[in-house]
């Protein structure tokens, strides 16, 4: 235990002597939290629409105006025909084409029903789907508006049964994030991302750097225990991670008014368990790598998998079964879920204990492996 003190002291001195790392610990979280939450949103606004109006009637004009007035759409152009509109889409000037047929008004009045065509750029599938849904909503609103105005024109029989319609009021209530603010959802994810990058990359480079510099030999001829050596490598990253978390918690409160309903202590405790597991992974990578370049490719490889299959950007529940199985051993997934519960759902430490247990188990396995894979004798 006494030797541990000297080793930890050494790791800290080396860390602070690097011109980049101390600045990184402070500036990186600050930058990320200041800038990127504003970039992440699936909230679809500003969809550019071209309306091709073959009808040129009062009704088609009203529908066009309704689309233009919607918060979701920007009326980009009203080209004369579909091909002209399509050219706009190819030039990436418009996202959606609404085509109103020539018989639109006649059909409405005479046949009491009509139709419009919607074509949407769906390279981004979600955006395409939501965009066409919004148009459908506007069209539906428009048709009920017309219903109100035109009911008197209906034959009495139809009018009566139409008035007797029973109505189920469907009232959606958005819990935990009533304003549907995407930033609130993503910020806990950003915190996990910061921890993963800093506490994953730095340890992954650490031991392999000692290998390249030859200092590892000088350590290996000493009676130092493997456990102490690995612990001394891990503990400084705990400190790094905690500093990062404190900065992140403070900034997300000051800038976004976000405070963990589940308590700061719960957030910090979860972080500590998580840091152990990613740092352990880093050390394993370092042990198996011969050069820094290998270590850096490997650590980026794993970080990408942790992040992209970890539920930060896309939901784990929509992944295929095998990917969900990977998520079940992915520490990133457990901490992101836990943070979101603590921050948004107001869950308590007890509520996230399942996630913490899983994280703890992953940490034990990874660090056991880290100690095991560190070979003092070749």
């Amino acid at each position: 235990m006494k030797t541990l003190k000297f080793l930890i002291e050494k790791e800290f001195k080396q860390m602070f002597r690097n011109p980049l790392i101390p600045r990184l610990i402070v500036l990186f979280p600050t930058m990320v939290l200041l800038v990127f939450p504003w970039a992440v949103s699936f909230e679809i606004k500003n969809i550019r629409v071209d309306v091709v109006d073959h009808s040129k009637s009062v009704y088609s004009k009203r529908l066009t105006d309704k689309i233009a007035a919607s918060q979701y759409f920007i009326l980009h152009d009203t080209p004369p025909d579909y091909n002209a509109a399509m050219l706009n889409m190819e030039n990436d000037e418009t996202d959606m084409i609404v085509e109103i047929p020539a018989s639109f008004d006649v059909d409405l009045v005479k046949r009491r029903e009509s139709g419009v065509g919607v074509a949407v750029n769906s390279v981004n599938g979600t955006q395409g789907l939501l965009g066409s849904n919004y148009v459908m909503q506007i069209v539906n609103d428009f048709s009920s508006e017309l219903r109100g105005e035109l009911t008197q024109t209906l034959p009495p029989q139809t009018r009566v049964s139409f008035m007797r319609l029973k109505k189920m009021n469907i009232v959606p209530q958005y819990k935990y994030n009533p304003a549907l603010d995407y930033k609130k959802f993503m910020i806990p994810g950003f915190m996990v991302l910061l921890l993963t990058i800093l506490c994953g990359i730095l340890p992954a480079l650490n031991i392999v750097m000692e290998k390249e510099n030859g200092t590892i030999n000088q350590i290996n001829v000493t009676p130092i225990s493997k456990m102490n050596f690995i612990l001394a490598k891990l503990i400084p990253y705990w400190a790094v991670g905690l500093v990062v978390m404190i900065i992140s918690i403070t900034l997300s409160f000051l800038i976004y008014g976000l405070w963990p309903g589940g308590g700061v202590v719960a957030v910090l405790i979860s972080s500590i368990v998580f840091i152990l597991s990613v740092s352990g992974l880093g050390i394993i990578i370092s042990n198996y790598s011969e050069t820094m370049q290998q270590a850096s490719f490997l650590v980026m490889f794993f970080i990408l998998i942790l992040v992209l299959l970890g539920g930060m950007f896309t939901p784990v529940s929509s992944m295929p079964a095998w990917a969900q199985a990977i998520a079940a051993i992915n520490p990133f997934n457990y901490l992101t879920t836990a943070f979101r519960m603590l921050y948004l759902n107001g869950s308590s430490l007890a509520d996230v204990s399942g996630n913490l247990l899983a994280l703890g188990a992953i940490a034990v396995v990874l660090n056991g492996w880290a100690v095991f894979s560190y070979k003092k004798r070749g």
Binding site: L20, W38, A39, F42, N46, E90, L108, R112, E113, G115, V116, G117, V120, N121, S122, V123, G125, G128, L129, S132, V135, M136, S143, L154, T158, F162, L165, K166, M168, I170, V171, P172, Y174, K175, Y176, N177, L180, Y182, I197, I201, E212, M292, Q293, S296, F297, V299, M300, L304, V307, L308, L309, T314, S317, S318, A323, M341, L344, N345, S347, D351
Partner: protein
């Protein structure tokens, strides 16, 4: 010229001899394109739903049954109290609760109106609102059948067409993004780390003192990396086409050209990084952070650039991957030609020239 070729050969041998690194560089994109191509998607599925129904009747059980049978939902049965429901939602075990009012059917028949509330866990706003939308559609459908009503007048049908991606596969959107991300990371780290390693060991100074001109020498060093990166791109493309079923609708030649422009750009960025730091650790950290985070957040890979506030859209313009991803989407998926994609290609070229200029200036300064 002879010297030049000899030098390129030497660099090649150097890289090929380290077969562990080579395996990682060529294997990494394979695993990642397959993992992410299949697993990363935005679809909202497996919505865990429970029903709170104080007075079950024909209508409420009918609606519950519809929800149970719907493939988007994962029906978790009914809860007895609102507290129970609140708790499991807080624990993250529930995404949506359908709450019927007391005596639902009776109210509906007698007063002509009855309330059903949809409590959706919207910590994920996307998932929360889509879950509520799905449930609304199911209930509305049930209502339409039950009320056995006459044709509602003045309906306007919308006929939707999804252009470029009729099946709305997430892979169409993500594959170009993953290409941009993986190439950026590999190319930047590969160049910056290996050059800084030579700086660290002092072998760079020896090379710079050789009769080859600096520019030529740096160019020679990057040729092998260029070849490897291009092989990576081809591997990714083959997997996307044959395994992920992403089409190549445009000209393959143009696509290769875009890829070469982007690879040159990312390698140049690696060179620039190598002039800014002098330790391998810092080269890795710097490359990793600047290559990964902006691509994930600002390139349009996941979050559409059009949705961002103006300042961030401006910031995203300096992210190389944004232009590459846009160009690949246009050429590969939308099947458009150079008349449309020239803008992106021009930006990629301009960025490359800028970075090479900075690199050469910085290198000169160091030697003086």
């Amino acid at each position: 010229m002879k010297q030049f070729i000899a030098f390129v050969k030497k660099e090649f041998r150097h890289i090929i001899r380290d077969n562990r690194t080579l395996l990682i560089i060529l294997g990494m994109p394979v695993v990642e394109i397959l993992l992410f191509g299949f697993a990363v998607n935005m679809e909202v599925q497996n919505i865990r739903v429970a029903v709170y129904d104080p007075t079950p009747d024909a209508f409420t059980t009918g609606i519950a049954e519809r929800i149970r049978q719907n493939s988007y939902f994962n029906y978790r049965g009914s809860v007895q109290t609102m507290d129970e429901m609140e708790e499991s939602m807080r624990k993250g075990e529930l995404d949506l609760a359908v709450v019927f009012q007391q005596n639902f059917q009776e109210e509906l028949v007698h007063s002509g109106e009855a309330d059903v509330q949809l409590l959706s866990n919207s910590s994920d706003p996307n998932r929360g609102s889509i879950a509520a939308t799905y449930a609304t559609a199911i209930i509305a459908g049930f209502q339409r059948e039950q009320t056995d009503l006459i044709q509602i007048p003045f309906q306007i049908q919308t006929e939707n067409r999804m252009i470029y991606n009729p099946l709305m596969k997430s892979s169409y959107m993500f594959v170009p993004g993953i290409m941009g991300l993986v190439l950026m990371i590999i190319c930047t780290i590969m160049t910056s780390v290996s050059i800084v390693r030579e700086k660290e060991r002092g072998t760079m100074e020896v090379l710079l003192a050789s009769p080859l001109k600096q520019g030529t020498m740096i160019f020679a060093k990057t040729i092998p990396y260029m070849v490897i990166s291009f092989i990576d791109f081809v591997i990714i493309l083959l997997l996307s086409y044959f395994v992920l079923d992403v089409p190549v609708n445009g000209s393959l030649l143009l696509l290769f050209f875009v890829a070469i422009l982007y690879i040159t750009l990312t390698l140049s960025y690696g060179l620039t990084v190598s002039t800014l730091v002098d330790k391998q650790v810092n080269a890795v950290i710097f490359s990793a952070i600047t290559a990964m985070i902006p691509v994930l957040m600002l390139s349009g890979m996941i979050f559409p650039v059009d949705n961002m506030p103006g300042a961030l859209q401006a910031l995203s313009a300096i992210v190389p991957a944004r232009w590459f991803i846009e160009a690949v989407r246009k050429v590969m998926i939308q099947g458009l030609g150079v008349t449309i994609a020239w803008k992106e290609m021009l930006v990629l070229t301009g960025m490359t020239l800028f970075l090479l200029g900075v690199t050469i200036m910085k290198t000169k300064k160091r030697l003086e």
